[in-house]
């Protein structure tokens, strides 16, 4: 098992109030790691700290290289794709333009076309709406667009922040089916933040439980570990 | 963090009425004393008055921009209207000052309210443009042909400032200085009370989040309109005093640079603070008065390839101030005093310091 992402001693404060204390976690290459916990436990903050869009202390090593001090766009170009919880849709741009943002300043047009082809293969719904303004898409479609845009970075690590948030159960199912397909097709390494524990544990190979900004538990979502994780998240014990 | 607040507050907070009374008494004593001995030149009093007048103008801007959060790049317009109200009342109607000053305030209050009602629907750059447009339009409107008999057109109006009342043996500059101090005390007291009232809290709620303020049941249009009107009245009184000091008004004395200067004074002094308005006013006046001399002195001292212009000094000083004192000169000074107070050798020996080891 190769460590693709190695986070150590990560701490974050918002306006003097600590939000993360000394978090450490590992994402293994080719596996899905779920980051779970109650509301306000620090899951989103962890992803934002890894992408360096908020101030933090501690070390983040990606693929053997310290990336803690790099600018967010550098980190993205190195292959860490972050799908934020607000989905980051460029509403005024078309679906096609949204997909071309990550490759706008790197790579050539031919490679861009190939990548788009490959990504859209997973998202037939987007392929039908390439010329439409992204702001007019439904919530589920915007989530798919966000994941597709992240894939356009040719990421080695995909960080997803609550992909199920605000979506109807049927749409959530669709999104997760696509995620599963992507994982199986590309052996993509994923760090998944998810409020819906059932969904998260069903897809994850490994789970980390956050509680009030601290790692409470890390383990396997097998029969034995599952119960422990569920108790830890819901009962805090 | 939970230390009692009296530890963190170094200044002795005197009663505001006492402060005001002391300021007036001090001004009177200084004026009378120097009249007798000639220690302070009459001319110096003029400059003190001008700095204080700018302070009152900045205070006015502070009401609407600092406390209510609505940008105005056009307060020079109300300064001008106040000045003309004074000049016309004294020059045409020979009104005494104690009538002309409140009159100027009322005129500006009404002008501010009339302007604000439609305009304050605008936000951000739109509001900036609308107020800036006012700053450009008013000096032009003062030159309007059909108003010439009243305003004197482009040449402006001369009038004679009245002598000191009660037969006080003070030179005009000295007694006007006392007058300016009295007006300043009244204006600062008024604004202080307004800011601390329920109305003031409504203003600040609008500044923080207008939608939320509306949800709380605040009539935001009314509050913003009144805030703007009060703001215009205070700045207008400053304009009236300015006219009195110079015994002259003309459209070109109140060009848009004046509006920018008032705005700069507000931000540089310390927005949404009362002492900051005084500091900002003094800053504006000092720059106006000394930038030229500084530029010339620097050009003479160093062998520069080009002549320094006062505006260069002004611009560079402004940028440095925004860097070094992002919350204004007053805010930075208060912070320094607080640090010093906390770092006194016996500061740690105070009984309540829970997070001290």
């Amino acid at each position: 098992m190769r460590r693709l992402l190695d986070v150590e001693g990560l701490s974050v404060s918002y306006a003097g109030a600590p939000a993360l204390h000394d978090i450490s976690l590992v994402v293994a290459e080719g596996y899905v790691t779920a980051l779970v916990g109650a509301n306000g436990a620090g899951k989103t903050t962890t992803l934002r700290a890894i992408s360096n869009i908020i101030r933090k202390t501690g070390s983040v090593v990606f693929d053997g290289r310290e990336i803690g001090a790099l600018a967010p766009d550098r980190i993205a170009r190195l292959g860490v794709a972050h799908v934020p919880s607000d989905r980051g849709t460029f509403r005024a741009l078309t679906v096609d333009e949204n997909l071309r943002v990550p490759t706008a300043l790197s790579g050539n047009r031919a490679a861009e076309r190939d990548d788009r082809e490959r990504v859209l293969h997973h998202f037939p719904r987007l392929a039908e709406r390439l010329g439409q303004r992204a702001g007019t898409l439904s919530g589920g479609e915007q989530q798919m667009l966000a994941i597709a845009r992240a894939l356009m970075l040719r990421p080695r690590l995909l960080m997803l922040d609550e992909p199920s948030f605000g979506l109807a159960p049927r749409v959530v199912e669709e999104v997760f089916a696509i995620l599963r397909r992507i994982r199986d097709a590309d052996r993509m390494s994923v760090l998944l933040v998810e409020q819906n524990l059932g969904l998260a544990l069903a897809i994850a190979d490994h789970a980390v439980v956050l509680d009030a900004g601290r790692v409470a538990l890390a383990g396997l979502p097998d029969e034995a570990g599952r119960l422990q994780i569920v108790r830890r998240v819901y009962l805090g014990a | 963090m939970s230390a009692p607040s009296h530890i963190e507050r170094p200044a002795i907070t005197a009663h505001p009425l006492l402060t005001g009374a002391a300021a007036i008494a001090g001004a009177l004593a200084l004026a009378a004393g120097s009249e007798a001995t000639g220690i302070v030149a009459s001319y110096t009093f003029l400059h003190l008055s001008l700095a204080l007048v700018m302070g009152i103008a900045v205070l006015g801007l502070n009401v609407v921009t600092g406390y209510a959060g609505q940008i105005s790049l056009g307060h020079g317009a109300f300064f001008a209207i106040g000045a003309y109200a004074m000049a016309m009342a004294v020059g045409h109607a020979a009104a005494p000052i104690w009538i002309a000053l409140p009159l100027a305030a009322i005129v500006c209050f009404c002008a501010g309210f009339a302007f604000a009602r439609p305009i304050l629907r605008l936000e951000g750059p739109y509001l900036a443009l609308a107020t800036f447009a006012l700053a450009i339009a008013v000096p032009q409107a003062l030159k309007y042909r059909h108003l010439e008999p009243l305003t004197g057109g482009a040449t402006g109006l001369h009038f004679v400032k009245p002598d000191a009342p009660f037969g006080l043996p003070l030179s005009p500059d000295r007694w006007l200085f006392v007058l300016v101090v009295v007006v300043a005390v009244v204006a600062f007291g008024l604004v202080r009370n307004v800011v601390q009232s329920g109305f003031g809290r409504s203003m600040m709620a609008i500044r923080e989040n207008e939608t939320a303020a509306r949800a709380l049941g605040i009539d935001t249009a009314r509050v913003k309109g009144l805030a703007f009107a009060l703001s215009a009245a205070v700045t207008g009184v400053a304009g009236a005093l300015h006219a009195l000091l110079f015994e002259f008004v003309s459209p070109d004395s109140y060009r848009f640079d004046l509006s920018l200067a008032i705005f700069v004074g507000g931000v540089v002094g310390g927005i949404a603070t009362l002492p900051g308005a005084l500091v900002g006013g003094a800053f504006v006046h000092l720059v106006h008065r000394y930038a030229d001399a500084v530029a010339r002195a620097l050009s003479d001292t160093f062998d520069l390839p080009l002549t320094l212009q006062p505006a260069m000094i002004y611009g560079v000083v402004l940028i440095c101030l925004v860097y070094l004192a992002p919350s204004g000169i007053y805010g930075a000074a208060r912070e320094m005093v607080r640090r010093w107070w906390m770092s006194r050798p016996n500061a740690g020996r105070k009984p309540a310091a829970p997070n001290a080891p």
Binding site: - | P125, A133, Q140, V267, A311, M312
Partner: protein, 301 residues
């Protein structure tokens, strides 16, 4: 009628300049949400550079090309040295910094080149291709250049990958960063482009207004109004706004003169032109706060 057409034509040619200033303001606004009050003075400074180039023997167009390149660098430097370090400063402080920049550019132009009026030759002096009684060759040339600039800018945003990246960065900087776009670099680039556009505006207006340090102060206000009338983040709207402002300004003076001729009563004339134009523009904005071309209320909080 004849006179009306003449006034409209004059409004169009003034409008072309306002449109260019508005374009420059829009460039910076879309990426930073700031109105650069120093834009006009920066354009004036650039025009002096072009004038200096012409004094040293260059003809108009090469001098303009060199000036646009130099202005681009000046714009980038201003962003890097002055604006970027204040990224987190309160909005009002940034307005103060723009006022400071305005003073500095004004003072430097005066110190280097003096305050006397300088004549700048029109590059279109021998443009007699389309002769008509309403627009002189220089006015026609200004209209043509404005149209070309707008087309170039729209094409840049619509058709180039850099333009796409800039649109993305303007709309959602965080998401753009997460998509690998170096937003900070693009900000500096936006400043450079705005300064370049301003330089073109300055060089075109100089043959009409004569070159002096205060040349652009009036133009900036109109450009500001034009940008807002057209919807502050919309380049095409900014150009349309420029023409609207130019025409309104000239119509005001024209109608005033006609009224006086017809009734013998002076109501308003050239002296009130600026004031009335501003009143009309502000009234337009009060009625339609998001600009004339916005279908819905603007979203900015």
């Amino acid at each position: 009628m004849e006179q009306l057409v003449q006034q409209l034509a004059a409004g169009l040619s003034n409008g072309a300049i306002y449109a260019l200033m508005a374009l420059a303001l829009v460039m910076i606004f879309v990426s930073t949400s700031h109105i650069n009050f120093a834009q006009g003075e920066m354009a004036m400074f650039s025009t002096y550079l072009a004038w200096a180039g012409m004094q040293s023997g260059l003809s108009f167009w090469p001098a303009l090309a060199v000036t646009v390149a130099a202005s681009f660098l000046i714009g980038i430097s201003v962003e890097r040295l002055v604006v970027r370090p204040l990224r987190d400063a309160p909005h009002l402080s940034i307005v103060v910094v723009f006022i400071a920049l305005l003073a500095i550019f004004h003072a430097f132009a005066g110190a280097i080149w003096g305050f006397a009026l300088k004549a700048v030759p029109s590059p279109f002096a021998d443009w007699t291709v389309v002769s008509n009684p309403y627009l002189g060759p220089h006015q026609l040339g200004m209209l043509a250049v404005t149209g070309m600039m707008l087309a170039a800018i729209l094409a840049f945003f619509r058709c180039t990958r850099l333009g796409l990246a800039m649109r993305a960065a303007a709309e959602n900087p965080t998401s753009a960063r997460l998509s690998g776009i170096p937003v900070d670099t693009l900000l500096a680039l936006g400043w450079g482009m705005a300064a370049g556009i301003g330089a073109v505006a300055g060089c075109l207006v100089a043959p009409v207004l004569y070159l002096e340090p205060g040349m652009m102060s009036g133009v900036l206000l109109y450009g500001f109004a034009a940008a807002l009338v057209g919807g502050i983040s919309n380049p095409a709207g900014a150009v349309a706004g420029g023409f609207i402002v130019g025409i309104v300004e000239n119509l005001v003076a024209f109608l005033g003169a006609r009224f006086e001729a017809a009734t013998g009563i002076y109501v308003f004339g050239t002296g009130e032109k600026l004031t009335l134009a501003l009143v009309i523009i502000v009234a337009m904005l009060v009625v339609k706060p998001g600009g004339l071309f916005s279908g819905h209320r603007r979203e900015r909080a």
